[in-house]
């Protein structure tokens, strides 16, 4: 799962100015940190649903995704 996030998903999100980092995958819950443009995306939930679908298709795993947004301080206003 970690390799999949790092090598398959991350380059795609980076291509849009976003960023995803793997944190853990335990008990069917994938925890990831979103940075960059993803951290302030208003419709990140749609992307998370898409990620679930990609994981299901490529790895055959149904998972929940716990998304942590790490937004830089200068975007907090």
């Amino acid at each position: 799962m970690e390799n999949y996030v790092k090598n398959i998903l991350a380059p795609k999100l980076q291509g849009d100015g976003g960023w995803i980092d793997f944190v853990s995958f335990e008990f069917g819950v994938l925890t990831v940190v979103f940075q960059g443009e993803c951290s302030k995306c208003l419709i990140l939930d749609r992307c998370i649903d898409w990620i679930k679908g990609e994981i299901k298709r490529d790895l055959g795993i149904d998972c929940e995704i716990k998304a942590v947004r790490k937004k830089p301080f200068f975007w907090d206003t």
Binding site: L9, P11, K12, L13, Q14, G15, D16, G17, G18, W19, Q35, G36, E37, C38, C41, L42, I43, L44, R46, C47, D49, W50, R57, P72, F74, W75
Partner: protein, 978 residues
């Protein structure tokens, strides 16, 4: 008691007008027919025109479905039979989308839709066919063309909801009224216009809209409202405007930024296509487009559109501007790179369109080097356009908009720094703001207003043209004229005797971090600039011995380098994948040039002066180590442009004492444990060089805010980041030529090894840095508090030098707290000074007797990982007697930057005192081109052994000579016929 804000809930008359304006837009479409059999295939772009498809293949796409993927391209197809009631009417395609979609219908490119436009006229392109086959290619990204546009900002994101695609018929009466209102409401809401006029518009717009019953909208009522607007508002000329504004249609296209360069191929196609289709509809519309590289890509991948484009160029409506191959950064590239930008850009324009473009169009670049005017002028460019200094300066208002720019050598070009942004929407308020901000009203003629969406391309919309056509009806607006870029420049500058003059660099008081961000790109750029020089000189000399000249290979390599000098690539202001692409491409160029250069038995000195300063030469059996490579420190003693053996001889005597002080033939040095120098006593010159922190590594919190990769703020020194000494300074080498001392310091996240070298035969003190860098928002600098009384620092510009004041007397000096330099800077008194020579750094700050060389940054936007990881770089401290010219600092810096290679070649002529910047075969293969650069501010002459052709930088013959006269900072190009 808590303050309770009272919100007015009843509607003001202006809000009532706005509301009705919104309602009116619903009547733009008279009829719509949903295209229901759309299918979509998701992909990800992997090359300029290559795609990796998702495994699902073609899928149906229905209204309400999600579409697009992160960094995704989607292909669409649909077949539709035109309904009976639409036949014989003007037919449109409508698709509201956040993506950028190129649309083909029945095999023809009919236009593009994107966040800025939602419909395409079909009728002229489908030959009355009732059976339509659509093919579309779309690219969606989270960053819209222009973040100032709230509509496009609201739909950002990788996954979008498909809102349906339609065949449609337009109600032109309603649409015309919408445009009238768009124009007038912009004026009514703008404080740039007269208050009474705005009140008049508000009152009369209300009256006009009262003619429409919005519970039962009738076309004749819309017509009546339009007539009212025309007869009452537009007919009124009681309110007089002033000013004269030239409107130039343009779209700024960042080749890479929040997208990889490969995406710019389709962004450019969409942009060009949209402008061509607008030309079909509006006979007076003309458009100005830069960057030969984008034309080249269009020709390569979309020849059908390129042919159409050529026709429009022939008829003068589509205007190629910008002589440079791309819009490069204009601080960091070498003089030769800037020349090649012009040479390859102009060569393309000449070959394909029969034009030499006489302007440089650089709206978004982050300041402009003082060496530029000469290069432009000698490349056929008389006019220079760049916006940033007027709209982005953080301290001083740049005093001119239309003026003459005088370069380092005295060359003068006409310069336009338009008063406002290069991306505008052609609204009346923007036009008025431009005129209000224009500072050369009495001397400069018209002011330049560019209009069109940009950054990611897209350009002008129908709405912008419709509004422009209405401007003459508004008496309170400045006079406007729709011109091409070149038309504007010729009309307002030619023969204008009143223009003010700016003599100096065009320093941008912002984006000062871009001299340092993404250190790897700066290192690779510097390395390849010199490697290309080496490859061309060696290839030319080999050609003279009968070998083939690798024209194509060198040109290809150059074009890759030039493309990666684009102003959001080399400065480091881009997302992570752009960095990965650039590093990959530049490393490939490096390998290709190795192959061109080849090898030989002897070392070759490509410099046209004797190489006599200490140099590191790789040798697996060497006695020293530098940057992880074994080798020896030797004085090559190689004559100009010649090859020879470089024998290594061990020096048997004792030359360096190491104790509390390190004593060399030149210095008595007291080091601190962190590798900084407490005392640097010059034994030859009998003087102390330090006066405070010297060669001290300084880490500062570097928090510039949203423009993270771009900016360093003036207060960056307020907060220092502490570090600790992991391993104090110790001796790691004492050989017959070099003594080296190593210190390892660290923060919680990073480890920084510094190796300081002193030498038996050189005044240089080299500092090697090996860094494992994992900071966040930290700027690393090397501080040099020099025991030198000076009010100016001298900075190398790559083809000459600039003197910059080191005091902060006025806001102009205060703003220049971080500046760009090339190979070296120097702080000196009349009888000696200190130069610091680098091999990959550009940012430096000065204050009084102190200099601070910027080494690394660690920004997180747009790239979270910017500059993270391993870095290796060196610089050399070079105290010297006399002034920097007499001390030959520039030559020493060339030796430091250009490694010796092996090639068994010689050249008889060394071309006097000027620097041999280039020796190459001419692009037409008929001449050897020699480019010589005066870099010390001197005048003189070179007697030649025979007659040579005098060339401009485009390699056109402009004269002949047997003697070359040169003046300070002049760059001469000559051709020797073969």
């Amino acid at each position: 008691m808590a303050h309770i804000k009272v919100i007015r809930r009843s509607m003001r008359p202006e809000e009532w007008t706005d509301l009705r304006f919104g309602w009116l837009k619903r009547y733009i479409y008279e009829d719509k027919f949903e295209i229901e059999n759309i299918k979509v295939r998701n992909a990800r772009q992997t090359g300029e025109n290559d795609y990796e498809f998702y495994p699902e293949g073609w899928q149906p796409l229905k209204k309400g479905d999600m579409y697009f993927t992160p960094d995704g391209t989607a292909f669409f197809e649909a077949d539709v039979f035109v309904p009976e009631k639409f036949r014989g009417r003007e037919l449109w395609f409508s698709l509201k989308t956040a993506a950028e979609i190129i649309v083909k219908c029945n095999g023809k490119y009919v236009g593009g839709v994107d966040p800025n436009r939602e419909r395409i006229l079909l009728t002229p392109y489908i030959d009355g066919s009732t059976s339509l086959h659509f093919e579309m290619e779309g690219y969606n990204r989270s960053k819209p063309d222009d973040e100032r546009n709230p509509e496009s900002l609201s739909v950002r994101g990788c996954r979008q909801i498909f809102e349906g695609a339609y065949l449609a018929v337009i109600n032109h009466t309603a649409l015309d009224l919408v445009y009238d209102l768009e124009l007038l409401l912009d004026i009514a809401k703008s404080e740039s216009f007269n208050e009474d006029y705005r009140a008049f518009i508000n009152r009369e717009l209300n009256n006009a809209l009262n003619l429409i019953d919005f519970d039962d909208v009738k076309n004749e009522d819309i017509e009546n409202a339009r007539k009212y607007v025309n007869d009452v508002i537009f007919a009124n000329d009681d309110y007089k405007g002033s000013g004269d504004v030239a409107l130039v249609a343009h779209s700024h296209l960042d080749l890479a930024y929040y997208w990889r360069r490969i995406h710019s191929v389709q962004k450019n196609l969409r942009t060009v296509l949209i402008q061509l289709r607008l030309m079909d509809r509006y006979p007076d519309f003309k458009y100005t487009h830069t960057q030969p590289q984008t034309y080249e890509m269009l020709e390569k991948y979309y020849p059908e559109v390129f042919e159409e484009l050529k026709e429009k160029i022939s008829s003068g409506r589509f205007e190629p501007v910008g002589a440079m191959y791309v819009e490069p950064d204009c601080n960091i590239p070498s003089a030769e790179s800037l020349i090649r930008q012009c040479l390859y850009g102009q060569s393309y324009y000449r070959e394909k369109f029969g034009k030499t473009v006489d302007n440089a169009w650089l709206p978004d670049v982050f300041g402009n080097s003082w060496i530029l005017p000469q290069i432009l002028l000698k490349s056929g460019v008389k006019y220079f356009v760049s916006n940033k200094m007027s709209t982005w300066n953080d301290t001083n208002r740049f005093p001119h908009n239309n003026f003459i720019w005088r370069g380092i050598d005295g060359s003068e070009v006409y310069a336009c720094v338009p008063p406002t942004h290069f991306i505008t929407w052609n609204a009346p308020s923007g036009v008025q703001e431009n005129w209000d901000a224009y500072q050369d009203k009495n001397t400069g003629g018209q002011t330049l207003q560019m209009f069109g969406y940009g950054d990611g391309g897209s350009g002008v919309t129908e709405e912008m043209i419709e509004l422009m056509h209405r401007f003459p009806k508004v008496s309170a607006m400045p006079k406007t004229e729709h011109l091409g870029g070149s038309e504007f420049l010729h009309k307002n500058f030619d023969g204008n005797q009143n223009l003010e003059k700016w003599d100096g660099e065009l320093y941008l008081e912002m984006h000062r971090g871009t001299f340092t961000t993404k250190s790897d790109l700066k290192r690779l750029n510097r390395r390849l600039e010199y490697k290309l020089r080496e490859a061309e000189i060696i290839s030319t000399l080999k050609f003279l011995k009968g070998a083939e000249y690798p024209y194509g290979e060198i040109r290809d390599c150059y074009k890759i380098l030039l493309t990666n000098q684009f102003h959001d690539i080399l400065p480091g202001s881009h997302i992570h994948p752009v960095f990965l692409d650039t590093v990959k491409e530049l490393n490939e160029v490096d390998a290709r040039l190795e192959s061109v250069i080849g090898t030989g038995e002897k070392y070759f000195n490509s410099l046209n002066f004797k190489r006599e300063h200490l140099t590191f030469i790789e040798d697996v059996n060497g006695h020293s180590e530098r940057l992880g490579v074994k080798g020896n420190w030797v004085i090559p003693n190689l004559a100009a442009l010649s090859s020879g053996e470089i024998p290594w001889r061990t020096f048997a005597g004792e030359w360096c004492e190491i104790g509390d002080y390190v004593t060399t033939p030149f210095y008595k040095i007291k080091f601190n444990k962190d590798g900084s120098i407490e005392s640097l006593y010059d034994r030859e010159l009998k003087r102390e060089w330090t006066n405070g922190e010297f060669n001290k590594l300084k880490l500062y919190k570097d928090n510039p805010g949203v423009y993270d990769a771009w900016d360093i703020l003036p207060n960056y020194k307020e907060k220092e980041v502490p570090y600790r000494i992991i391993s104090p300074l110790k001796t790691i080498e004492k050989s017959s030529e070099c003594a080296a001392f190593e210190v390892v310091i660290g923060t919680e996240k990073s480890v920084w090894k510094r190796i300081i070298r002193v030498f038996r035969q050189s005044r240089g003190i080299e500092v090697e840095n090996q860094v494992d860098w994992h900071e966040k928002h930290v700027l690393a600098k090397a501080q040099f508090d020099c025991n030198v009384l000076t009010r100016e620092a001298v900075c190398d510009l790559g083809a000459g030098f600039i003197k910059r004041e080191t005091h902060r007397n006025t806001s102009w000096q205060q703003a220049r707290f971080e500046v760009c330099h090339h190979k070296w800077f120097d702080m000196a008194e009349t009888d000696g000074g200190i130069a610091v020579i680098n091999e990959s750094k550009y940012g430096v700050g000065f204050y009084e007797n102190s200099a601070s060389l910027s080494l690394l940054r660690s920004t997180i936007r747009p790239d979270i990982e910017s500059d993270m990881g391993r870095h290796e770089f060196c610089y050399m401290i070079y105290p010297h007697p006399k002034d920097f010219v007499t001390a030959e600092i520039n030559n020493i810096a060339y030796e430091y930057n250009i490694p010796l290679v092996k090639a068994d070649l010689t050249c008889e002529n060394s071309f006097g005192e000027l620097f041999l910047q280039t020796m190459k075969m001419s692009e037409n293969g008929k001449m050897i081109v020699i480019r010589l650069s005066e870099q010390n501010g001197k005048r003189g002459r070179i007697e030649l052994s025979g007659k040579v052709k005098i060339l401009n930088m485009l390699e056109d013959v402009i004269g002949e000579a047997t003697t070359l006269e040169y003046s300070p900072f002049e760059i001469l190009t000559v051709g020797i016929m073969i």
